[in-house]
Symmetry: C2
Subunit: 420 residues, 2 copies
């Protein structure tokens, strides 16, 4: 068992926060580790909305998986699409081949859920990948360009209406950033339109924004958004979406740009595990994060649902995925050493959401913060956890630049100029 | 004539170096200026190969045209596609409408010429736009990824063979950068392949590299490339290109990645001007840069061919376009003031090409430079002419980072993982 070839094979599917944490925590464990992802980069998802709103470039929040694991001798990285998992034969099926495993860590993440209305996706794209972010950036910037050329005032008004569906952190961050762009960044750029006339509507089906935070925090966030020029509509489920706008209850919101930041649908990979899934398609896991009946298969992050701590599922946040990745590595090591596994326990170090320049909300160790203090905390934490010294420096510079000049460095429209 | 509405209408088609220089030089002239481009950004084309080779992000070398002209009160910017020019009716035809003009500056630029073999473009993409650069970056990075997974040694060798067609500055810069990536940047990233085994072939039909520079400079460039690990093949026209490689004379070079950096084909816009074009589709212009028979229409930059200075066409370089843009603005101003126009005279301030880290060649005022001195000159000049203080700082940082760490910050593969 000492030659690399004889070592147990561990496959990690997905190099997000969870998968990468598991891989790195296995660095000094005598296993043959394979990390499979269909992207060549690890994505720092909490800052994805900043790419969608032209504050950062795609390269600033993504880092090659190979470079992260470069010096980890027991790890190899495969750029490949996992199509299914055969738990009976202990094999991961790729689009072109298969990989046998002794331990499997499935960290495939989640996409957006359209609650049975998949046709809405075309007109209300979600924000999960770099491609999504580039696409949304393009739509937002093109809406202003088209409004500048439009002579019909009604069409112009629809072009300058932006609807964000979903009042979680992503929705709040997007709405605040679009308000900032229209009120500050591009004010002097146009001749026929005044970008400040743009209408930004944040629509949430539930009773308040940021439902994972305290009610008082939700109120602060809503009040700040309103002050920045965002219309906040809570308790308003979306009943229809098409290319011309959204319907909320009996009301119609005409808008050419709609972004979807609501609902979570786990990766379809979950289905091939052959266990019952929850309503969002997530895999219920055991206290040690393994799948019932398959102690050699672990599921972590947004793809899993863990209820053994509070009775309710843990939220789909990067710190949860990260801690689960480390816990799984510990349990694999324990099993190899003949020791019992540990029960996973999530340590909540706080949550935060940014709303605009010098505006954020945060809850840390039972304390609530808002305004500049919360914003600086948010900046600090997000810079700190970015992978790669270079990315930290570049992002810090971009933020400083944006702060002092009200400019955004990545206002690029790539692709054709036709209406998206 | 003092109200803006009564002022002469000047349309500039294309916001490259030439068009933008013309627009900015008209800042204090009482005209109604419209700049039309089908991109929202001005592109710093001399650094495009650095995006293609993952050293810079797209946003680092592009800047919104609106922001550049933000404070120029007489200018408006239209994001639109120009489909034709009607010189008889003095109208620019857009995909959706038309714009009348009193003066027209056509600066539509050029694409790559495949010398009657347009089918080659699919397998040997050219490098003119940001989209091209992102596509080529993707192909180069994917070739290494696929080689890592390939078990057939012959296919693996083809995947690790890169052919650059064209020995001008772009071809030289691309070949040098790919050599550097394979020899230094990603050496420790793979487990199954040794990226240093990559074969990089630079193919030039003419007798020497960098034909616009002195023969001694060409020799220095070729020797430097060979030292960096590039095979240089001059006097070798390409006779065929397909998905599996290129044919040069009787010889076959099997390669999965081919990049086209040869030949120039002017924008098809030139044809609608109704004057005889040269072989590359460029518009021969008068000494004042206007089109014969149409003193109100000027053509500048890569779309024009100017032979009145040396008898031979001026090269397709950014300084030529830039100086022509300023000259045209001067001639429009002269005409409006009832003064005679000036004959255009290009002032050659030097040419340079970078080959690799600390390696470049330059010719300035009859002096030849190479190695570190030329490289520092190149860095200095390119930083200096980048539009926007932020871009200068970011690019300087990226280069310093790349210099000291041998890393490249933008090694992103976006899009699907399938073979391109």
């Amino acid at each position: 068992m000492n030659s690399p070839a004889g070592r147990p094979r561990v496959i990690v599917v997905g190099a997000g926060f969870g998968g990468l944490a598991a891989a790195r925590a296995l660095a000094h464990v005598p296993v043959q580790l394979t990390v499979v992802d269909r992207r060549n980069h690890h994505l720092f998802q909490p800052l994805l909305y900043q790419v969608a709103t032209a504050a950062l470039s795609p390269g600033d929040i993504a880092y090659p998986i190979r470079s992260i694991l470069r010096h980890q001798a027991n790890a190899r990285v495969l750029l490949a699409e996992v199509v299914a998992i055969d738990v009976a034969r202990r094999e991961v099926r790729l689009a072109d081949g298969s990989l046998p495993y002794d331990f499997l860590v499935v960290a495939g993440g989640a996409g957006h859920a359209y609650f049975g209305h998949d046709a809405w996706e075309k007109d209300a794209p979600g924000l999960k990948t770099l491609e999504d972010a580039i696409h949304i950036r393009r739509r937002i910037l093109l809406a202003f360009e088209q409004a500048e050329r439009e002579t019909d005032p009604a069409v112009r008004r629809d072009l300058l209406t932006f609807v964000i569906v979903g009042g979680g952190p992503t929705g709040v961050e997007l709405a605040g950033a679009i308000a900032e762009i229209s009120r500050h960044v591009i004010v002097s750029d146009f001749r026929s339109i005044d970008p400040r006339e743009a209408r930004i509507v944040l629509v949430e089906a539930g009773p308040r924004l940021l439902p994972a935070m305290l009610p008082a925090t939700s109120e602060t966030a809503a009040a700040t958004l309103v002050r920045l020029g965002v219309e906040v509509r809570v308790g308003t489920p979306v009943t229809d979406v098409d290319a011309r706008g959204v319907s909320i209850g009996g009301e119609r919101l005409a808008a050419r740009t709609v972004v979807w930041a609501a609902g979570v649908a786990a990766s379809p990979l979950a289905r091939s595990l052959g266990v019952p899934l929850d309503r969002a398609g997530r895999v219920p896991v055991e206290p040690d994060l393994s799948v019932a009946g398959h102690p050699e298969v672990f599921v972590i992050g947004d793809l899993s649902v863990y209820t053994h701590q509070t009775g309710r599922p843990l939220p789909g946040l990067s710190p949860v995925a990260l801690q689960q990745g480390r816990a799984v590595a510990g349990n694999i090591r324990a099993t190899l050493a003949g020791r019992p596994r540990h029960r996973f326990h999530y340590v909540d170090k706080g949550t935060m959401a940014v709303i605009g320049r010098s505006e954020a909300v945060a809850e840390i160790a039972g304390l609530r913060f808002s305004g500049l203090v919360a914003w600086l905390l948010w900046c600090f934490v997000h810079i700190f956890f970015l992978i790669g010294f270079r990315n930290r420096i570049i992002v810090m510079m971009e933020w400083a630049w944006a702060y002092f000049t009200y400019q955004r460095g990545a206002r690029l429209i790539t692709g054709d100029v036709e209406t998206p």
